[in-house]
């Protein structure tokens, strides 16, 4: 596996507020090795650990992308929804930024059926068949289409289970994380001071509340994915 230098800058991370944790009362004692200090009632995560894990994650992701693996980014908080969507578009991987439907991965066959239906509806819309339906039916179909677009829009090109899943907030996406564990899919997760670091495979201790810190970490990972993809294209 190739080890590269990812430009993980201390100044950048501090400015984005990656080092802030949740309040002291709300911590998870398992996070003790990653917490460095306590300030004004909030825990401060140790950025050296963060940087280490982040660089490892980037390496892994780069490697996987250079072998043509599929990624899935999960982030459903409405604050981060459009950052996740943008990151996924940039890295050309799948994303779930609205509600994570239970069983999306474990009940893959049903999800696949829905995806087929979504694809067919889109085809119909493109060919203009919807205009020939009576108005009420057309409205019903359009409503279905918009629902499918919001929930499955990010994964509409997914053909099988993803190879690596990146999760943005462990508390919010607990179901997603559990599904990946049952299926044995490797996960990379952003951990805050009130989360469990043992659940995910690579847990990056960082601030999951501030949009700039999430953006920073996602950018690094997306950059790694893009690099890996480009090397994959060059020599498949």
């Amino acid at each position: 596996m190739t080890r590269r230098y990812w430009n993980i800058n201390l100044e950048e991370m501090l400015e984005a507020g990656v080092h802030f944790g949740h309040g002291t009362r709300k911590w998870n004692p398992k996070m003790a090795p990653y917490i460095s200090a306590k300030r004004k009632g909030i825990h401060i995560t140790n950025l050296t650990r963060t940087a280490r894990f982040l660089s490892e994650a980037c390496d892994l992701v780069f490697d996987a992308a250079s072998r043509g693996k599929q990624f899935l980014i999960v982030g459903t908080k409405n604050k981060v929804a459009d950052s996740v969507a943008r990151a996924a578009i940039k890295a050309r991987c799948h994303c779930v930024n609205k509600k994570w439907l239970g069983g999306m991965l474990t009940n893959w066959s049903t999800t696949e059926t829905r995806l087929h239906k979504f694809r067919d509806l889109r085809m119909e819309q493109k060919t203009g068949r919807l205009n020939r339906l009576p108005k009420r039916d057309a409205a019903v179909v359009k409503r279905q289409l918009s629902r499918l677009q919001t929930y499955l829009g990010g994964i509409k090109y997914m053909t099988g289970l993803p190879d690596i899943v990146i999760i943005v907030d462990q508390h919010e996406e607990y179901t997603a994380l559990r599904e990946c564990i049952t299926l044995g899919i490797p996960t990379i997760c952003l951990i805050d001071t009130n989360c469990d670091p043992d659940l995910a495979d690579i847990s990056i201790p960082a601030n999951d509340d501030a949009i700039s810190s999430i953006r920073l970490i996602l950018n690094k990972l997306v950059f790694a994915i893009c690099e890996g993809r480009s090397s994959y294209i060059r020599n498949p």
Binding site: M1, R3, Y5, W6, I8, L10, E11, L14, E15, A16, G17, H19, F20, G21, H22, G23, S36, A37, R39, K40, I42, I44, N46, L47, T48, R49, A51, R52, F53, S55, E56, A57, D59, L60, D63, A64, K69, K79, D82, T106, W108, S109, G160, L161, D163, I164, I181, T182, L183, G184, I185, P186, D198, D201, I202, N207, D209, A210, I211, S212
Partner: protein, 428 residues
């Protein structure tokens, strides 16, 4: 292939779950967690149905484990900075989250009820619709809040549920607005204010986003009264008509601590009509009566009609001649611009002395003619007086300009308007 996967999935899930639970109970104090067991179960199941996909996934999983182990054993590899650097730099990026602190932030998301602002803190801050601007708006976009806007906000509160802060732009805007009002008052500028409400005693006008009070006495009703054919109107009804109108206003009192903002319309009108000519006839309304005369409101300025100037005949009781609310034509005698005081007279407008008392209507009609005559007589008297001065003191350095105005050799225009009250009226 699909059925394969289904079968396989059916096999995999139950054993894995049981295993996970049992091992997690056993290995609660064990750090790292139960990884070897998990892989063995997977490998057991995988051996039964050798699936290329699963093998791939297992390989990936192993890579991840290795990476994790590496992280634990060698924590400093690949990291550009040390722990000491981190601690040293930590102080620089400390965040002060007390109420009332100003922070710079960037807006990154707007919705119907507010906007999310990214400040360098634990979590992003929320700017609600009410706090976005002094004026009442329906959507944050009207106040100019779009994603990407970088501005100063002030912290006004904290959300307990998710550690986010509430920020506001309103307080800053209030301070700015009061500051602006103070400056405008110092410069004595006329501003336009929209009337938004009325109450007992006056109306409320919006100026610079602040609500100011304009007492009835400070509103010049002249225009309205003229348009209604000089009928005396009750104060309240005019207030309702004034709603949604824009009036020129000037600041009378700006006090931020007591939140008092008092404006005046008549002061503003006084300014705009400061060029009232001496000797011109204007229509005015009697505002109030005093023992020494009556206050007449002409175009926003209060002029004094002294009792001696009402008529040639002696007027013993003003109330017999004038009543508050009466409209009459008066002539301007003098104009003190700094104090906004005007001296008026109706005496000059009487065709025959004593007319004001006996026959005010006649005075009214003949007012213009009388004023004309008066002006001519004054001009004549002036010319005579000037010629006299020149004759007797030719070396006094004064000269007669083309308009017949006496003045020093060097300047063109007179310093101020002429004060005619000193000149005795010419008798026929």
């Amino acid at each position: 292939m699909a059925s394969f996967a289904q079968q396989f999935r059916g096999l995999k899930c139950p054993p894995l779950n049981d295993n996970k639970f049992s091992t997690s109970k056993k290995n609660q104090n064990h750090y790292p967690p139960s990884l070897p067991k998990k892989t063995s179960v997977i490998s057991a199941a995988a051996v039964a149905i050798a699936n290329a996909q699963t093998r791939e996934r297992m390989r990936l999983k192993e890579m991840f484990e290795e990476a994790y182990e590496r992280c634990r054993t060698d924590p400093m590899e690949g990291v550009a900075f040390t722990v000491e650097d981190f601690y040293a730099a930590l102080d620089k990026y400390d965040f002060n989250s007390e109420l009332g602190t100003k922070v710079k932030g960037t807006v990154f998301y707007t919705d119907a009820n507010g906007a999310l602002v990214d400040i360098n803190a634990k979590s992003s801050a929320y700017l609600s619709l009410r706090e976005a601007s002094i004026h009442s708006i329906k959507h944050v976009e009207e106040a100019g809040i779009v994603p990407g806007l970088r501005e100063e906000f002030v912290i006004v509160g904290e959300n307990e549920a998710d550690d986010s802060l509430n920020v506001s732009l309103r307080s800053i805007q209030y301070d700015l607005a009061w500051e602006r009002c103070r400056q405008l008052q110092a410069e004595d500028v006329v501003v336009k204010g929209k009337i938004v409400g009325a109450n007992k005693g006056g109306v409320v006008a919006m100026v610079e986003g602040l609500r100011g009070f304009v007492p009835f006495s400070q509103i010049s009703m002249l225009i309205r009264r003229l348009s209604r054919g000089l009928v005396n109107l009750f104060q309240k009804s005019t207030a309702e008509e004034l709603l949604e109108k824009e009036l020129p206003l000037k600041f009378v009192e700006v006090d931020e601590e007591q939140s008092r903002l008092v404006l005046s319309n008549r002061k503003a009108m006084a300014d705009s009509q400061a060029q009232l000519g001496i000797g011109s006839v204007v229509i005015g309304t009697v505002q109030s009566l005093k023992p020494y005369g009556a206050f007449i409101d002409i175009g926003g300025i209060n002029g004094l009609l002294h009792v001696s100037q009402i008529s040639h005949d002696r007027v013993s009781d003003i109330a017999t001649v004038l009543q508050p609310g009466d409209t009459l034509k008066v002539m301007i005698l003098s104009h003190d611009r700094e104090r906004g005081r005007v001296s008026l007279s109706t005496k000059k407008l009487e065709p025959t002395p004593g007319d004001m008392i006996r026959n005010p209507k006649l005075v009214f009609e003949k007012a213009e003619e009388m004023a004309q005559t008066f002006r001519q007589r004054i001009a004549q008297a002036e010319a005579m007086a000037r010629a006299d001065i020149l004759r007797f003191q030719p070396e006094s350095g004064l000269t007669l300009s083309s308009e017949g105005i006496l003045g020093p050799l060097t300047s063109d225009l007179p310093a101020d308007g002429l004060d005619l009250s000193d000149i005795p009226p010419a008798e026929d």
